[in-house]
Each structure stands twice: as structure tokens, then as C-alpha cells.
Symmetry: C2
Subunit: 152 residues, 2 copies
């Protein structure tokens, strides 16, 4: 076996993970760390935009567009990490409601995935006022879900 394939094999064994559809293969601790990793990355990039919106950081069109694009991309990623059976296995602030009220949880996911492209559109205008509006909407989407589905 080539060195590269030994490494890939080790990688696969070390991270036997799966999307929701084959949840029986998901290691809960890895799923929890995955979704937290995505949320941390989203938090950083949304933080860049929020700081500009708030005036805590000078407006910079390129930096705004980069972070908005990353937030939009990241907005699609965490959900597989909430697969059934991943309510425990590592420290998590996710409340049981995530798995008890999947339809409502999905509505919140959709709210974020609808708000995130507006960040990109606003960043493309180069107008701080547009960015502020979009940051407000995206912030409400984050907050709406965190209020009901994340431990305070």
C-alpha cells in the first residue's frame, strides 16, 4: 500500500462519519465537534460583518464580501452534524428540542439559509447601509434559532 493510501485509510478510520441518512455510522462526539466547528467558523465571519455594521471595524468591501461568502457557504454545513443520536457524546449546548421538533428546527435552518445570500448581495453593493440591513436579518435568524434550540 502506498504511503498516501495508508494515510487516507487512517483518515477514514479516524473519522468514520456520515450524513444524516446513514446516521448509524455517525460517531456522536465527531458530529458534535463538526457542527461546533462550523458554527465557530460562521461566528468568526459573521463577527467581521457585525463589527463593520456596528462601526467597530472600518468598512472594507472586499473583506465584507469574503466573510459574507463564507457565511453563506457555511450556512449549509452544520445540519448533518445534528443527526439523530447526536444529542450527547461530547459537551454540547444543543437542546433536546433539536430532535423533538425537527420541523421547527428546519424552519430556523431555512431562515438562516435565506438570510445568508442577502449578506453576499449586500456586500456586493459596496454600501454599508445595505450590509447593516442584511446583518440585522441574518442576526435575527441566528438568534431566533439559538433562543429556542440552544442552551443559554
Amino acid at each position: 500500500m502506498q504511503a498516501t493510501w495508508r494515510w487516507v485509510a487512517g483518515f477514514a478510520l479516524a473519522s468514520v462519519v456520515a450524513a444524516g441518512a446513514v446516521a448509524q455510522n455517525v460517531r456522536p462526539d465527531r458530529a458534535i465537534k463538526y457542527r461546533q466547528g462550523v458554527m465557530t467558523a460562521m461566528n468568526w465571519n459573521f463577527g467581521v460583518l457585525a463589527a463593520m455594521a456596528k462601526g467597530d471595524r472600518p468598512y472594507d468591501k472586499d473583506a465584507a464580501l469574503k466573510s459574507a461568502t463564507f457565511v453563506e457557504e457555511l450556512s449549509h454545513m452544520p445540519w448533518d452534524g445534528f443527526a439523530p443520536g447526536t444529542d450527547k457524546g461530547a459537551p454540547t449546548k444543543a437542546l433536546p428540542e433539536v430532535w423533538k421538533e425537527p420541523a421547527k428546527f428546519k424552519e430556523h435552518q431555512d431562515a438562516l439559509m435565506n438570510a445568508a445570500p442577502k449578506l453576499v448581495a449586500a456586500a456586493k453593493t459596496g454600501e454599508l447601509a445595505a450590509l447593516k440591513t442584511a446583518v440585522g436579518e441574518a442576526g435575527r435568524a441566528c438568534n431566533g434559532c439559538h433562543d429556542d434550540f440552544r442552551e443559554k
Copy 2:
């Protein structure tokens, strides 16, 4: 101040972060957690592809395309998290070489960003053999950087 803006303001204050260009505003602990979060998310999604390539998980074109797309998107994200001054501030396996040999580190970043779109292209073919080849190349890109720039 509206409730939403109170929240956004809190968010901005809690995550005063910046891209490399304004590194003086980066909180090292947040930058370290950001890059680690991105890497964790990349690991999960690359793990899905590696498991398919290795035969540890049934091949699934849609799941492969989703994870390949996420890996490609994520491949652009971690680098701002290695801003100057973020060599310490939270536990990190990043070696001092990241900041001592920026040109070589950039070469490794480029190798990953070049390999990742090939994962997407391979996933689109629906051919497991194509995916295996692309996973091999992307794995070498990951490994090449980790060998020199990450603590064992």
C-alpha cells in the same frame, strides 16, 4: 436601540476579529479556534470522501458531491486564522514554521485549493475510481502541509 441591534452589538464585541490585513485586531485565541473549527469541518467532510474511497462507506454520488463541495469551500477559509501573532493564545498544533516560512506555507495552501476543486469534479462524474484519484491528491495536499507545519 432595538433588541436585534443590541444582539448584533454584543456579537461584534464578543468577536472582534479581522482578516490578516488588520491583524492587530485579531484575538489570537479566537483566530486559533476559528482555523481549528474550519479544519474540523474539513476533516469531517473529507472523512466522508475518504471512507467512500477506502470502501468503508457505500459510494453515494449525492453525499460525495455535497462533501466535496464543502471541502472546496472550506479550503479557502482557514488561512486568515493564521494571522501574525496567532502562534499562541490557545492550544494549537501549528508549528512556528507557519509564520517563519510564509511562502512555503502559502504553497501548501495553494496545493489544497488546487486539489479541492478536483474532488468536486470527480464527485460530479459519479465514478468511484475518479473520486479515489482525487481523494488521493487532496490527501497528499493535506499531508504535505501537516508534515511540515503541524505538530505530530
